[in-house]
């Protein structure tokens, strides 16, 4: 059984992201990038399933410019067998990404599409769901446990009320949550092996996907600074302060 795993190159989670002075976005030049942490969890899960003999092939896929090759090399070092690089230098919105992934999934005939539940750059949390909708296949999002068996997947999901277990028919989309696993550290010899694994480069046109722009970003701004707190001396004072602000 084959799995397709999407991996996105994002600004590293340790970087203090800064908004561009003209409000057109955030500064991405000259800052460290790495694989979206949720996608690392997706990669790790796929590799574990392969180690257990539940998957036979793992194909990593990314959309982005030349630098995304690094992200694919990490995925290959993680344990992907080969990779697909959808080359695109400009911004890509979730729907376009989902169309491209759906097309690739079909073309590859993969049974599982693994993705992080969201990417830490835009936090959109849409792509996985859209892939499922476009292909009209099952989806199990926010996974904290995944079992593959025959033509089915049993997935435990993190929901507001606790945990929910779903059984879904394959092919299916599974998006991964933080507690699913702890991704391994790359092994140095695997970094060298990854160099020899194949990366296929394609374009949106090759996949028959038109790059749409359903959303327009009107402005990006930093969150408002937290204003200074005040100290109250008594509970009464607290209550009246809350009342005067109309909070109780």
């Amino acid at each position: 059984m084959k799995a397709l795993v999407s991996v996105k190159r994002v600004v590293d989670y340790n970087v203090r992201v800064q908004v561009k002075s003209d409000g057109s976005g955030v500064i991405t030049e000259g800052v460290k990038h790495s694989m979206n942490p949720f996608d690392e969890i997706a990669m790790e899960e796929a590799v574990r399933l392969k180690e257990k003999g539940k998957l036979t092939e793992i194909v990593a896929i990314t959309i982005g410019g030349a630098k995304n090759e690094e992200t694919l090399r990490s995925a290959l070092a993680f344990g992907a067998d080969r990779a697909i690089h959808i080359k695109e230098e400009g911004d890509v919105q979730p729907l376009t990404a989902a169309r491209a992934f759906a097309a690739a999934l079909k073309k590859e005939g993969a049974q599982v599409f693994f993705a992080g539940k969201q990417a830490i750059d835009d936090d959109a949390n849409q792509t996985g769901q859209m892939v499922a909708a476009l292909l009209d296949i099952a989806q199990a999002t926010f996974a904290s446990k995944v079992e593959l068996d025959g033509g089915k997947a049993v997935v435990t999901r993190e929901v507001d009320a606790g945990l929910e277990t779903l059984e879904v028919d394959l092919p299916a989309v599974i998006t991964t949550d933080l507690r699913l696993n702890e991704p391994r550290y790359l092994k140095l010899p695997d970094i060298m092996k990854a160099k020899k694994k194949p990366i296929e480069t394609v374009t949106f046109a090759d996949l028959g996907v038109e790059k749409g722009a359903a959303l327009t970003i009107s402005k990006t701004s930093a969150p408002p600074k937290r204003s200074k707190g005040i100290m109250v001396k008594t509970v009464d004072e607290l209550v009246s302060a809350l009342k005067s602000k109309g909070l109780v």
Partner: protein, 608 residues
Amino acid sequence: MSLILSRRDLDFLLYQWLDVEALTRFPRYAEHSRDTFDAVLDTSEKIATERFAPHNKLNDQHEPHFDGERVTMHDQVKPALDAYCDAGLMAAAQDAEFGGMQLPTVVEKASFAYFLGANVGTSAYPFLTIGNANTLLKHGTPAQIDAFVRPQFAGRYFGTMCLSEPQAGSSLSDIVTRAEYEGDSALGPQYRLTGNKMWISGGEHELSENIVHLVLAKVPDDNGRLIPGVKGISLFIVPKYLVNADGTRGERNDVVLAGLNHKMGYRGTTNCLLNFGEGTRHRPGGKAGAIGYRVGELHRGLACMFHMMNEARIGVGLGATMLGYTGYLHALDYARTRKQGRVISGSGKEASAPQQPIIEHADVRRMLLAQKAYVEGALALNLYCSQLVDVQHNSDDAAERERMTLLLEILTPIAKSWPSQWCLEANSLAIQVHGGYGYTRDYNVEQFYRDNRLNPIHEGTHGVQGLDLLGRKVVMQDGAALKALGAVVARSVARAAAVPTLADYAKTLGESMQNLAVVTQRLWAAGDIHKTLANSSVYLEAFGHTVLAWIWLEQALAAQRLPADDFTAGKLQACRYFFEWELPKVGPQLDLLAAMDTTALDMRDAWF
């Protein structure tokens, strides 16, 4: 922002200054490219940050404990080292055959810098293991390599270096550990060792399956006497557990821990007094005496051990650098958040205005700038030396290899001692920036200082490095090493002379090198070795500062070629600091040396 090491700086040094990608011209590194180097650095940063840094303070607060039987230590140490070994970092620079990825030394050291900065105590175990295995790889027999090197690179065994004895530290010629020949074995000529080794880092622990001690000892002559001097020293492998022919763990060897030393810093590393050949608890083969296998020729042990010592000296310099570096980043972070006082503006101080971050005070920026100049300069020097090792091992041009060897000979004492002195000073300044808080154990900087205080002591004290530089290195092969360094510096000076903003510094550095050469000649013309060497540690410091001025000029040359931004401006300012504030310290030192001052030499014991 990482508080261990600035990746921007590391990238600058590796790719924009040293151009380490060019090393891929050598067949050994041909399969590499920047992305494999980056992947190693990413992994190292991650493991260091997530597994090493979190227990750095705990390691210090709960130092290893010996109950007379077993050594116990903080329970996060082993998982951290397991993660390190599992990632294949122990073998990073080795052939694929040993599980390695043939990483260039310079990138390996850059990767290791993260661990040293995150937790120097825990990092000492791989530090010693890699040095031990490299020495055996060079001087051991194939059987010794199979039995002791492979398991070390695989992270199953850890290694030590056992040179010092209670009565013989700086003066290794006075060691008295005896090795009596017993017969030949598959693992080489077999001996029984008796004696005590003092200060042995990593000498006992249960972090690995076995411990491979590399031990210096003397083989008695036919009359049972030990040959005086270093000529009588041989090198032995003494494993904690003997190794069976099939590689499994055998009998316990007669090496026992007599006690742990309670140190000022580096507390995470066990530091041991080891007894060899006690004959009470363990009697391998039914006899007293620790079984050891000789490495290399009889009486040639110190020469073999120098392989490990030279590597360790640059490594100690890198450790000192990284303690200074992480201290600097902590101080910088603190200075940007701690608010205290107001900066005087046009009409004086505005008492009602909010307090400002202390980085707004010029004196605080001075302390930060000094730290930046020390730690970034030291890191640059250590990486430069590591790259020399790569070229030395790989160049097919014999003259180039010889040049690299000479440069390493002369720069090793500097790469060891300069960071040990000035990055310790950086740690002192990091405490100063923190004010009273820096003096408490609630913050990290006091530990960095205590940890770093070791570095001018071990691997050849500061004094010993001074003697090595002035007494040996600058005069070796008729001054060939000094000339080789002079030629490299002269090239930088010529390049900088063509850059208007750097031309003055180029001139100053050129003069400084010239003065150093003159003083060296004068010292050696004294005709009295006592006078020549009396002030060698001052010579070491003057030499070190001159070398670092060159390293800063080199960094400035690389920085001014890049598009101007805050980072490059910072590099250029640190270069300016070094030339305006630090290099001038060298003048009075050279004057004192040139005058053949004998104040210290003439002082008498009785006058104190």
